[in-house]
């Protein structure tokens, strides 16, 4: 699958305060983009705009799949997203959450694949526990299963290692590397270790696109 994400002149203003402007870049197959910057520099804001869950004040984000432009409403089918502020449904178990998400996405509920994902993030033994009984690290692991459920060509990770232990972090690094082989990945982080696999970087402290 041939994918391209094209970002043009993105600007975001929150309540009259400019967070960033003139963000321009392109992301193509088999690349990994790092979005860096200090706290409050707008990393999360930018990834939300890329994912299409937040509108930019100005500018636009285009997404192409095999050369065909995909409109904003249908992009959810091709994007995977993980962030500390993302929430699963507390009153359902991990398994129920993933099955519901697959059904709502209208993709086949492939139990074997769901099991595989749960084993991968080491939650298989706890798949039938309610998410409300999960620790924050376990919740973060579940979000990776959520994000990979539909095998998205673009994976967007905001603070990928938040709440994770060493083993969890190494799984995440594996996921990032595999995703880079099969599609694209965007990593928003403060941590220099997280961007070791990235070949492009946007430093929001400087509001500009540095070629790395």
């Amino acid at each position: 699958m041939d994918i391209k994400l094209e970002v043009q002149n993105i600007k975001k203003i929150f309540n009259g305060r400019k967070i960033f402007s003139d963000i321009n870049f392109q992301l193509e197959n088999k690349s990994a983009l790092a979005i860096t910057g200090r706290n409050g520099s707008g990393k999360s804001t930018l990834v939300k705009i890329l994912a299409g869950v937040l509108s930019p004040t100005n500018g636009q984000v285009d997404f192409y799949l095999n050369g065909k432009s995909i409109d904003l409403q249908n992009r959810y089918q091709y994007f995977g997203f993980v962030a500390p502020y993302l929430q699963m449904y507390d009153e359902f178990t991990a398994m129920e959450n993933l099955e519901l998400f697959a059904r709502i996405r209208n993709i086949e509920v492939d139990k074997d694949y769901i099991d595989l994902l749960l084993k991968r993030v080491n939650l298989y033994e706890r798949k039938d526990s309610y998410v409300r009984e999960y620790s924050s690290g376990m919740k973060q692991r579940l979000k990776y299963a959520f994000a990979l459920l539909h095998k998205p060509p673009l994976l967007i990770l905001d603070e990928p290692r938040s709440n994770l232990d060493a083993e969890g972090i190494s799984v995440v690094y594996q996921i990032i590397q595999e995703q880079k082989q099969s599609g694209c990945v965007v990593v928003a982080t403060n941590d220099s270790e997280d961007i070791q696999f990235c070949n492009q970087e946007i430093d929001l402290n400087q509001f500009r696109n540095i070629a790395k």
Partner: protein, 226 residues
């Protein structure tokens, strides 16, 4: 791919909400308590007097209107409060979410209205229905109109900071035409008018539902996204 919304997905959102409701009783308890307490207060207030047809028809819809307010508002506020709005954004298109939520409100309001009407018939002896066909059709069309309007209003207020108070303020002007027509039609049912003479009212109710749903569908994209 370019369908207005996906039926299977909308149904699953409905099922999710329904199972979630069974586990958390987020809206249901509030609704039932509301109906019971208002009806009890009305009973005390009416005491031994026999309310006129106009008044008993009006009171029924006041009970339905305010309990719908207290329950329906939860549909989007619960997602907003728990921070799962973004999760829904990431797995479905806005119109699918809207129709899933609309279906949930519809079923919830139907169940609640059956409960309210049965209780009302038992507790208010002077509430005697003479044209059952008009009455049932009024409850049916009133319920779908009320759920359609409450769904979009709930979506709007979930994004505001003054969730509780804004709901009745915003819903009153939107729901007033519907309330006036259903009260009139309920009165016709109590008076025992022939159904043929009430057709005009039903057409208005159907038109109301269609217009509100169409406007909501167009509006929802803007409301749903930050």
């Amino acid at each position: 791919m370019n369908k207005i919304f996906n039926i299977n997905s909308a149904l699953t959102i409905f099922i999710k909400d329904f199972r979630s409701e069974l586990r958390t009783r987020y809206a249901l308890n509030a609704l039932i308590m509301f109906v019971i307490t208002t009806l009890a207060i009305i009973l005390f207030a009416v005491a031994n007097e026999t309310p006129s047809i106009e008044i008993s028809a009006g009171i029924l819809w006041i009970v339905i209107f305010f309990s719908a307010m207290s329950g329906m508002a939860r549909t989007f506020v619960s997602e907003e409060e728990r921070g799962t709005v973004m999760t829904l954004h990431l797995i479905a298109k806005p119109s699918t979410v809207f129709f899933g939520k609309l279906l949930f409100n519809l079923i919830l309001l139907f169940l609640m209205n059956i409960f309210t009407v049965v209780l009302y018939l038992i507790l208010i002896p002077s509430f005697i229905i003479k044209s059952y066909d008009i009455f049932l059709l009024t409850i049916f069309l009133g319920t779908i109109g009320l759920s359609a309007a409450s769904t979009i209003i709930a979506a709007i207020i979930a994004k505001s900071n003054t969730k509780g108070t804004l709901y009745p303020v915003l819903s009153f002007p939107i729901l007033l035409p519907l309330l006036m027509i259903v009260i009139k039609s309920t009165k016709s049912a109590l008076e025992g008018i022939e159904i043929a003479k009430a057709m005009g009212d039903f057409q208005v109710m159907i038109a109301y539902f269609v217009v509100i749903t169409a406007v909501s569908y167009l509006l929802f994209d803007y409301v749903w996204k930050d």
